[in-house]
Symmetry: C2
Subunit: 297 residues, 2 copies
């Protein structure tokens, strides 16, 4: 029997979405329109289509005015740039999200760099990455910000804690490391070239696993009492042919050792869309100058 607290990302995300919905309604009362999120989906990638539908539903529930622009897989870079520019210029659009991945004829870096940084609710624009790195206000990518919120639900203070981020993507690992550093954790960034991943995990009070390798991190690597945030969502096929989602951490083992741990699914996953709605709400307030205490979100 384990004493680990299971970190309920679903409940935290629901609560965040409820706060966003309330503030979005107040924004609409003041501004005469809902906060607006424009989602751009290029092509027919089935996973992307599922994500975009989930974003549509969640936007509607949170009083965020969502518009989805569905473009064919044959869209040219110039056509997509033209749409981004039009959305930049549209005063009713507060947030712009271009669903990744994009078809091979399109340079994703060029598209992201074309988004107005003040509407970049995904936080992928280099200037928002730079603001995060420089300690300036901007937009932070949704998944790592969601991880930080889960950590803060559980820890009153993060300063001085030893943290390891396993994975160095621009979308999760690197911004996560910046957020933990800004909270005054001692941060180690580990990745596929790391020689002593066991040692890095073993000494850490906080483990963020964002590497995309099923159950790479075993239970006996975890420092007793550590907080484990598992960003991995890996679909694996079981012996009976069914599939199942599992994380980057061997959950059944780790829960015996950790102080707190996120399950997969139901941990980090639900936070990502909730933070996207939060970022859109924040963008709407910043753009219009309507006051919002961002710390209450």
């Amino acid at each position: 029997m384990s004493d680990a607290k299971i970190i309920d990302g679903k409940a935290t995300a629901l609560s965040l979405r409820a706060r966003v919905a309330e503030q979005a309604q107040a924004f609409a009362d003041a501004a005469g329109r809902l906060p607006g999120l424009a989602v751009v989906l290029v092509g027919e990638d089935p996973a992307s289509a599922v994500y975009v539908r989930a974003k549509e539903r969640a936007s509607a529930e949170a009083h965020i005015g969502g518009t989805v622009h569905r473009l064919p897989a044959t869209t040219t870079q110039e056509e997509l740039l033209a749409l981004v520019r039009a959305l930049n210029a549209d005063t009713t659009v507060d947030g712009i999200l271009v669903q990744l991945p994009l078809p091979p004829q399109i340079d994703a870096h060029a598209i992201i760099a074309a988004i107005d940084p003040e509407k970049d609710v995904d936080g992928f624009h280099p200037i928002n990455a730079g603001r995060l790195a420089s300690g300036l206000p901007g937009f932070v990518p949704c998944t790592p910000l969601g991880c930080l919120m889960l950590l803060k639900d559980y820890h009153d203070h993060l300063a001085g804690l030893e943290a390891v981020v396993v994975g160095r993507s621009n979308i999760v690992g690197k911004p996560m490391a910046q957020l933990l550093l800004a909270e005054s954790c001692t941060v180690t960034i580990a990745h596929s070239r790391t020689r002593d991943l066991f040692g890095a995990v073993r000494r850490s009070d906080i483990v963020i696993a964002a590497v995309g390798v099923p159950e790479l991190i075993r239970g006996d690597w975890i420092k007793p009492g550590a907080t484990v945030i598992d960003v991995g969502i890996n679909r694996v096929t079981l012996p009976d042919g069914k599939t199942k989602l599992i994380g980057d951490v061997a959950y059944d083992e780790a829960i015996e050792v950790a102080g707190a741990i996120t399950p997969v699914p139901g941990g980090v996953g639900p936070m990502t869309i909730a933070v996207l709605l939060r970022n859109t709400l924040v963008a709407a307030h910043r753009k219009t100058g309507i006051a919002l205490d961002e710390r209450t979100l």
Copy 2:
């Protein structure tokens, strides 16, 4: 008697400056003008005045056309912004450096953000910080790039090495961590809130000390054979009343253990201006489209 190699930053910087001078002359032959660096100095801070004079001398020697704009300490933010905008628009200026610190009536963040990112040879603009964090080409701050060059002089490969960066400033620590991560080191960022600095240093193959505390890091913390890069330049007063420059590492102790170590002075210090000249040369080529193999610098 120690076997540690003393990393001669002065020699490496001289060699870099000679390569810059040669390429700057070639640029002048092609472009009909020297690469241009505009340095802005506000007020009478004596240390800043010394740095700026050193930059002037080094620019002249490297065939970089340097112009220094000296403004009174009473300069307003609007006056400084107007100068930055004029330098942004001046086609003969390839690099702009605003010497820090600025007087208290001026918001340094606003000034840095006003510099054309393509002329930001200090690499402090948030978009250049973001490009570095995102793995995109841009300008990297001079001191950490100089440290990386010293490391690469000594190591053929950095991938997989355990590195600790002690200090998390926007100017040295954070960009240094990004550079080491891009070289596939396992990177730990330590700072004043770190609980086990000894442990972080002790396990590291590469130690970057950039914290500004004289001889904080002792010799017996260093892993035998490690490479130590000391960014600290601390002026201390000796018992006889004379002053002396010392680093963040106890050099006399560390040299007995390290595989290689930078002295203070004569280690990292000389690299900073050499990299500034290099960045200005690179900016001139990128802006004019004249070809330059940046890897040869």
